[in-house]
Amino acid sequence: MLQLKNISVRFGGLTAVNNVTLAVGTQDVVGLVGPNGAGKTTLFNAISGLVRPTSGQITFDGADVMRAPMYKRARMGIGRTFQVPQPMHELTVRQNLTVAQRFGTGSVDQNKIDEILEFTSLAEKATRNAATELALTELKALEVAKALATNPKLLLLDEVFAGLETTGKRHFMSMLKNLHEKFSVGIIIIEHDIETISNLCQRVAVLNFGELIAEGTPEEVFRDPAVIKSYTGGGHA
């Protein structure tokens, strides 16, 4: 479904992503790990259209999306959450989902929205102002809900667990476990916690200094000496 070929993203002199090739199918739950600054969010930005890669090819459902603007990719089925939640200002939670659904799929179905609100435990906060009246856990849940409202085929989750305490984490874990089946969507998830990744993903890709240094099942990858080195220091200059 998603095919990344030799993707490189360069900002002036800095190479954030270097020659990454990755494929994700509709049934996959892929983890994307790596130390801070490895280029994971930049890769997400390239896939979702916030940033244009300096070279390489991105194909989604067979179509070349390199030149497609962000909103078009969302309509094609690439959903994405931001690491720092970005709710739509001046709108309620429900309105956030309504806009997402209306512009992401072309029509509005309040029943589906209710379903999503229920799934992300936001049903009680539906009428609250999204930008000013939600706690962090709820904001992060809204990120996921917004993306789900666009009826995505691929969901990019960017560090949804960051900043959450234990109850929040548990809640999200169970939500994410059901996500894949209930909404039949492929997932790429950026996360730091190895246990979480091992629990959720069948496949893991490891980035370090913008390069893909390992790819495989969680067991294989986390035993790979190169991967361990990248986390404990050592890498190359």
Binding site: F11, G49, V51, R52
Partner: protein, 290 residues
Amino acid sequence: MTELVLQALYSGLLQGGSYALIALGLALVFGAMKVINLAHGELVLLSAYVAYSVESGLGWNPIFAIPIALVVVCLSSVMVYFVVGRIKKDREINSLILTYGIGVILTNLILLIWKADVRSTGSTWMQEAIVVGPFYSMRSEVLFFVVSLVMMGGLWWWLSRSWYGRAVRAVSSNRDAAKLMGIDPGYTELVSFVVAGILAAVAGVALFSYGVVSPAYGSVLTVKAFIITVLAGIGSIPGVLIGAVLLGVAEALTVTLASSALQELVGMGLFLLVLFVMPSGLFGAKGRRG
């Protein structure tokens, strides 16, 4: 024919000096406070009219109007600063409307005090022709071109060497970090308004000395200053000078080769051209979005 074109280039170059001063004043305030002072052109105009009053009322050469213009314009500039500071929210948008309103007030004040007639200097000393090589110009044009170069040099020195100047640059690039360094942004904003006032005052006297002014000219000046900042891009004093000269030359060429009525149009045309082709200006920093 070539002499005409070369003469136009020369005149445009000289005109560019004053244009650059006006544009720099606008850019300085924007950098320090993220506020575009839409009344800036009116401040320049005010200075020009002060020069007129000095000349017609006291019979002095307009040069001597500079100190008086400095006081008047800097005071006005500071008043604008204080009024802008009173804005409570949405400063970016509200300051636009506010300074627009101040511009309206100034334009109408000028209209009331000095009436609607077009004014220019009667000083023969200013108007005397100076010949440099094959090129003609009024003494005032050459004089004020030199003055503007000196002032730009001074401004450059001030921004890079003096404490206040560096503080202004710091606040422009990162306000919070500057605060952490002990720089009071409010104070540097005030300083930037004062300096902008100084630049505007000199430019206004220059304008009166070799050009014509009328009350409606204020907003035209603001637009020209804005066009120059777009041409130049962000963050470069030499860039502003070159952009200003470019505008001056383009206008002079239009007057020579086409008609004086199209003079304003060419500035706008340049502006649109740059917007479409080179949105970050000729010398500005590039943007990042894809």
